[in-house]
Amino acid sequence: MNLKVMKTLLWRETWEHRGLIWAPVITAAVIVLTALLSTSFTGSVQIDIDGQIDIDGKERELFASLAADLSHQRQLFAVWLGALVIPQMIVAMIVLVFYVLDSLYNERKDRSILFWKSMPVSDAQTVGSKLATALLLVPLWVWLVSMLASLVVFVIVSVKLGGTPLAPLATFHAGTWLALQLTMLQNVLVAALWYAPIAVYLLLTSVYAKRSPFLWAVLPPVLLVIFEEVAFNTSMIAGFIANRLFGFIRELDLHISSEDGDTSASLMREIARSYEQLGTLDMLAKPDLWFGVAVAAIGFFAVVRLRRWRDDA
């Protein structure tokens, strides 16, 4: 495939959908703003405006041991910065769902498909560029933006923590940070494979629907779920869909919860567990994932064929 053509096609997508570029930037700005205004750090520790730290004995103990334990300190650092990408991901996903639904529908609605088709660009290239925008271009952009945002957030928080008992936690671990970015990059690629069938399904409704691709996308699964519930009193389809929708985010469970009675040792374990969750490469071992990729590949050819021969512009 010609690289110059592909590059142009990807740019084209960003011209039509400015939101793909701006949504991650705006989300990052909100995260940075929250860090600026917020007074809490890792949930339960309050930093007052005057710099007074209100921590109880147990947390004092936790932070004391963290200050000494460099390995867990690094893990907490990674989990904390890594978790910043989750709101970014959720916003990007919502934006991308609407992008994909529009991508092959708008061009038919405004008949611009006749212009696009007057160019020597194959349907596979066109559909491929839209899929690549949704699964790679925007996620990589989110990755880049959130990387920068995490640095800014780190600076803000470390300034706030300076001179407090928590100051050791504001150490920048360059090696850990780099490793975290590589892990996040892997996550982008795993997510692309995991969500490929959903993206292709949305493309299919986009290329097929005569009107309202959103309803075409949402109604069939909802009706199937209801039908199954009523007819068999089971919810296998719902489970299947939920697994596909949330399976990836569930893997990234970065919430560190502390409850009464937790010792600092159990919190350390919790930090270590979350750290393990940062990477999702183990999803590549799931047959589920590869089944989805196969379905997506078949669906892709269906979308290309439909766009090639659909004749109602």
């Binding site: 053509v5 611009s112 498909i113 020597p120 194959s122 004749d311």
Partner: protein, 297 residues
Amino acid sequence: MGAVIHARGVRKRYGRSTLALDGLDFDVAAGRIVGLMGPNGAGKTTALKSILGLTPFEGELQVLGRDPRTERDSLMKDVCFIADVAVLPKWLRVDHALDYVAGVHPKFDRQRADDVLKRTDIKRKSKVGELSKGMITQLHLALIMAIDAKLLVLDEPTLGLDLLYRRGFYETLLNDYFDHERTILVTTHQVEEVENLLTDVLFISHGKIVLDSTVDALPSRYAQLVTASEHVATARALRPIYEREVFGRYAFVFEIGKGGAPTVDELAAWGDVRTPSIADLFVALMNGGRGNAEVAA
């Protein structure tokens, strides 16, 4: 040079009953400007869509030696088309439109497009949605003219434009684009406008070609006799294919030069004889001689 378009028995059916194309046979040679004309629903657009590989069909069709059904992607490097006004998307910015075509089309000459655009009032940072219909057509034409294509297909390219833009469109096309190696296939309802630039005409009716001729050959095939009312009976006896009355004068169109048909000299005895305009001929052939001019667009 072989035929740019070679069609044999091209058929296209919509649903079960509608036959949009009923066996088209025609050839278009290189360097011609061909007008494809027909009433609404005659199959013009379907024929163009078949040539451009936008719709499936039956039969044999070669465009620049390629089958548009299976070789569309490479075909589009040598074929350009303006499907209609206003198919450029509203969100597209003018400079991005140039970037886009430059990025995907190997035969696009950006400098040329820039030169054509400089002669218009179109601003580079405007979005298509902010341009007038006429300007959108100018932009589209600037993009297309900068592509070194062998075949240009125009489907009602000036629909809805005012006279100035329509005139300008064809003038630009003829003066700055057409060079006797390129081929242009155009459909339009505004027959009078393209009349003087066509080299060939293809009339299509009910999915069939009813006239396939060079413009140069028309005088030896058709003649129009304009005469006074006292000669009407005589003229009718010569079997015109079409007649109409204009301000008390009668105009008859004859097919000439065939066995049994009148000659120009025979007709000249009864009034003024000239070659019918393409518009007159269109009405004559589309009407089957019933003398109702209203179907002409």
